[in-house]
Homo-oligomer: 124 residues x 2
Amino acid sequence: MQGLHLTADLYECRCASGLMTDSARLRDALLAAVRAAGLTGVAQLFHDFSAQGGEGSGITGVVLLAESHVAIHTWPERGAVTLDVYVCNYSADNTAKAHALFDALAESFAPQRRATHALTRGAQ
Amino acid sequence: MQGLHLTADLYECRCASGLMTDSARLRDALLAAVRAAGLTGVAQLFHDFSAQGGEGSGITGVVLLAESHVAIHTWPERGAVTLDVYVCNYSADNTAKAHALFDALAESFAPQRRATHALTRGAQ
């Protein structure tokens, strides 16, 4: 279960606003990025807060991976996104794939500032 | 979007094995813990790797919250669990609720060892 959990808090995102407000568009982009990175999506869930009420007007999207999960929260009213890419190295070292997916997703939002963090998990 | 992301890697879990292998049981426990902590679940997704193939025999469970998300991965074959509780303080300070949920969920697996981490997110 040893793995790597990468997080990014993205600010001043200059992507097309649809990527932060249109759940179908975000889902397509996220699933394409997972495939491009060579990771394996097994299930997905997206929740649109603008349509159903909540504390903001953004989207939460999660893709469950064979290797763990990806989670994205968008705050279009603030031009901000938080991103999690967590992969375990159960039967292979997925570190490079995790970084590739993380970098591609972060770049897709065109943030002008970001705070990132890397946490090794399950290593004991 | 300022918030708190708590993670735990739990080892030598001595809970009833069903909590790590029965997705309905894990879902019920997770949703009850979310409610007990005073947080708001808006959607949920559970994937059973033993039933559908994958790199392990455990379960991945995610509950999307109005306040962000909770994610659990179980590795019953290793007696281990990883746990994420991420809450944003959008319209209220949810720090205490996050810690309450995190502690309750971690304890429910009866781990003999654990590694925990707290990350402040979205603070810029």
